[in-house]
Symmetry: D2
């Protein structure tokens, strides 16, 4: 992550302040409030603000006058019940706001989740920094031969070196042209007095999608968990998955009971189709069932076996 001393000082200033509030407060999350959690080579996720805690879910489910909580075990039981039966609205009663710095191509995937509030840094209005994402060597993966949208083995040797060279060279050239076209110094004055300088909203079109952008992103707990269930999944692209994983840690700090229920019923759970259920019933009745006899496609059978196989 790259941050100027001024930015670090702004964050430190925020972290040094404290106020008194009657609101539900979560010390474990306050600990890391405003702090950048590093992701990829220049990115980060920072929790900027939050509303509610585990009790707020319980309180809303009970439409209570006070905090609404009873014994911890009863509250956990209620949260588990809500998660299991997809009674979703109480999870919408908690809200969190992040500041995220991320490559443009990651931002393009992320923004597809529509039930969130977003304010992005504007390259019509301001000049983007010279920061772009270059994969670490162990993430320089070949195209998967079995999955059209997946990764295969890691590239090595001269191919890996060549790819890194191309990525770095093109991003650097891209930015150099951007600067030249803008014709603007950091203080806003012209670099070359004889030229006008291209409009910012046009010059930006020359940047590659591995350049970093940043935004404020705010959502409720239900939609956050939905986002994380898709983006922390093994099928998600690595470059967005690492953001999701950093955010999962913030969820664990924030609402530990909801987090546990989420692991039990979503992340760690599995959905079986009608045909898969029939196959499992037959297996439990002692029948030998194979793919052909199961009625499942080869791919579905493999997915079912992944669910049912004993774990090392």
């Amino acid at each position: 992550m790259t941050m100027t001393p001024e930015q670090a000082a702004e964050i430190a200033a925020l972290r040094s302040q404290s106020q008194t509030t009657r609101r539900a407060t979560v010390p474990a999350l306050e600990e890391i409030l405003y702090e950048p959690l590093n992701v990829l080579d220049h990115g980060f996720v920072r929790v900027i603000d939050y509303m509610g805690d585990d009790s707020a879910v319980v309180q809303a489910a009970r439409v209570s006058y006070g905090r609404g909580t009873k014994k911890v075990s009863e509250d956990r039981g209620l949260i588990n019940y809500l998660m299991r039966h997809r009674h979703t609205t109480p999870f919408e009663m908690c809200e969190i706001k992040y500041h995220v710095k991320l490559p443009i191509f990651v931002a393009r995937q992320w923004i597809r989740h529509r039930t969130a509030n977003v304010n992005e840094y504007s390259a019509r209005y301001s000049i983007l920094d010279n920061e772009f994402y270059i994969p670490a060597p162990d993430q320089l993966a070949a195209q998967s031969s079995s999955n059209r949208q997946g990764r295969g083995d890691v590239l090595t040797g001269s191919e890996a070196a060549r790819v890194l060279d191309l990525l770095k060279r093109d991003a650097a050239q891209s930015y150099a042209s951007y600067e030249e076209m803008l014709n603007e110094k950091p203080d806003g004055s012209k670099r070359d007095e004889d030229r006008e300088g291209l409009a910012r909203e046009l010059a930006r079109m020359n940047l590659t999608v591995n350049f970093y952008t940043q935004w404020y992103w705010k959502t409720d707990l239900l939609n956050l968990l939905h986002f994380l269930s898709l983006r922390a999944d093994s099928h998600a692209q690595y470059e967005i998955r690492v953001y999701a994983e950093a955010m999962l840690d913030t969820v664990q700090r924030w609402v530990p009971a909801c987090y546990d229920a989420f692991r039990e019923y979503r992340i760690g759970g599995a959905a079986l189709s009608a045909t898969a259920i029939k196959a499992v019933r037959r297996m439990l009745a002692g029948e030998q069932v194979d793919q052909a006899g199961s009625g499942l496609s080869a791919r579905e059978w493999r997915e079912l076996m992944d669910v049912l196989k004993p774990q090392g």
Copy 2:
């Protein structure tokens, strides 16, 4: 408003607590946090939680690392600019949660605003209290003769008395039947041991829509202001307008700069049509313009005159 001593004690307990937080905090709103603000004969609005303040709008608009605020006058200027030019996303960065007690027919209007999170008290699961709305005498209005969905003069004398009698009689009978069909005492035991008792989810169908329900309702500042611009408007039905007015006061405490911008550019402003603008231009050029010559319908002309007429 009707509240049991237990409910009052739960609220008092919440209000007596205080925590330390690094989050943006608004003392003027903390003052009334959790407190019921009375509305109609048995209803209320309570602020349960909030996220952000005026600075959070500024911070998001600037995608800043720290609080993002500069001088108060610059921040106000930015907020005014955002409001005027309908740059809406920064206003989504503040969030507020209310607990509301309201008649069912008001809830039915309210719920049409979809961009909010809601948890309502469930009459499938629990038994509704014997509380229904009866208009105060000065709100017992006749049908407007000019506006199909508006109110005319206040009813008086025997007609008013008869209406109040009918409303009270029918609501009371409605609830008496509800209780009889449920056959359930407050402690859950049967009233009449020889009967089963009708399912709660069925028995509730006998209640009139002036019975009170309650919910947790959470939304962001942008959508709250949109809700208030429609429901605090003079064309809104009185019974929902009084809720909107109570909530406007909470907005003023919470985000005073946004509130002022909202009054200046929304509540106190006006939208002119293309034809109305042409008429105003001609008037300013010294021309005498009347409705017939303006190209506006009689109704639009009246609306324009309301905007342009000198205020006493």
Copy 3:
């Protein structure tokens, strides 16, 4: 269902018209277009319009220039894949619009699904008809003793008779008072010239929530399937489930491949928790597993057994 001759004639007129279009068209759905499908004692669902078909899902998934379809088996395979892996956006590319007549208490559950477009008949503007829902004798259920929001046995004998009497008496009285307070004849003139008549927006508060309302309701296929998965479920209240079931039939006519995938992967499928998966793995390995040893609660164990038990 109650419909005036004028309304029936309007529907017949619409059904008798036909136009030529280049759009994707579904003859099986056209057959029932505009026709009311009866639900409950006075309600209905009518398909008013639709956009897209099974191919539209395929077309969007492939971002194709033409219809996008290949062989029927490939298209079905793609739809199954999308449904199984929750690639949801292609299902948003089909849209349907219904006209629904339903009791207010059903409308109150229904409206909680926010991702739809709604226009409801306005009782501020117009007068509601004298139509209310009375359960059929086999739906007059007692409160369930095991499930706080469920139904138990059907009431019989004098208790059933008494409940029906109360429901009918109170609704009738409710409406009689409504009419008296309105003081308005069908032609808009006054019933009693000496009285004003209460404003419509106030008089309606005297109606019980089993009175019928109606609305236009439009949504995309994804959100419709989500609605149906919750409301056609056995845990849904009977009075909304019958609407969902009528709508399921329209989905089968409209997008048969999506419908089949929905039955296979949603309605007929099941979600297992992390702990349930572990239990199933042990069972398949030949171990005897009981509830205590499974780590599941009694209720979760019962739900798992319901999934795994051999079907008669």
Copy 4:
């Protein structure tokens, strides 16, 4: 616009088909159905499907059993009334679906409108074409000196030539490296047998944001008009405005009465602030009002003068 003969043939095939339907149908829109409307150097907008017409708005507002229309003048009057008083829900009853080809930086602005359904061509799954946007000479604008996010004069001479050179050179190099890293021929075989080829989801990060992407985009009329009011506005960036303008023409064909109301009350209208209204009242009363005395900022005063000044 660039289109392969296969794509052109697919479109021609769709256009040559016709079906019979009972649905509301709009001949003027059918005329251009599926046809690409060229935008920028390689982009287009195509109407793929639609639901409803002007009557559908009227029908929903009246919750009618038939088409709901009365005399044309009454229907237009109702549509004007709904638009003027922001009774928005009836406009949600019409739906339209577009296929759009657009530069990535335009797609990034566009996607901020969340109330739409989107399926984008996936560069994780497929390979992007070698097509990028280069501004026409008359759009090669300098940065505005007065507006931080606007354009000034058009660049000329050697500066213009240099900018075009840089844009073309960098995009071309960007794509050449993309192809080299992918190491994939159009038929999917390897270009260089000795190399693996970088995963598509990684290689794409090297493309500049002026490369073209494409998507299916579907929305309702209300949200479409909101999108167009912002993106067809003179403050919108030229490269998205030309898409909005092409779409405005499709709206005029589709729902001419709504389109006229939109021009009268939105596009051609203006919003006045509370302070601006006061100033206009004083002017109309014959007072000389200048900026200082008006209470408006210099910028707001200028905006007001733009509204009020006589039009050439």
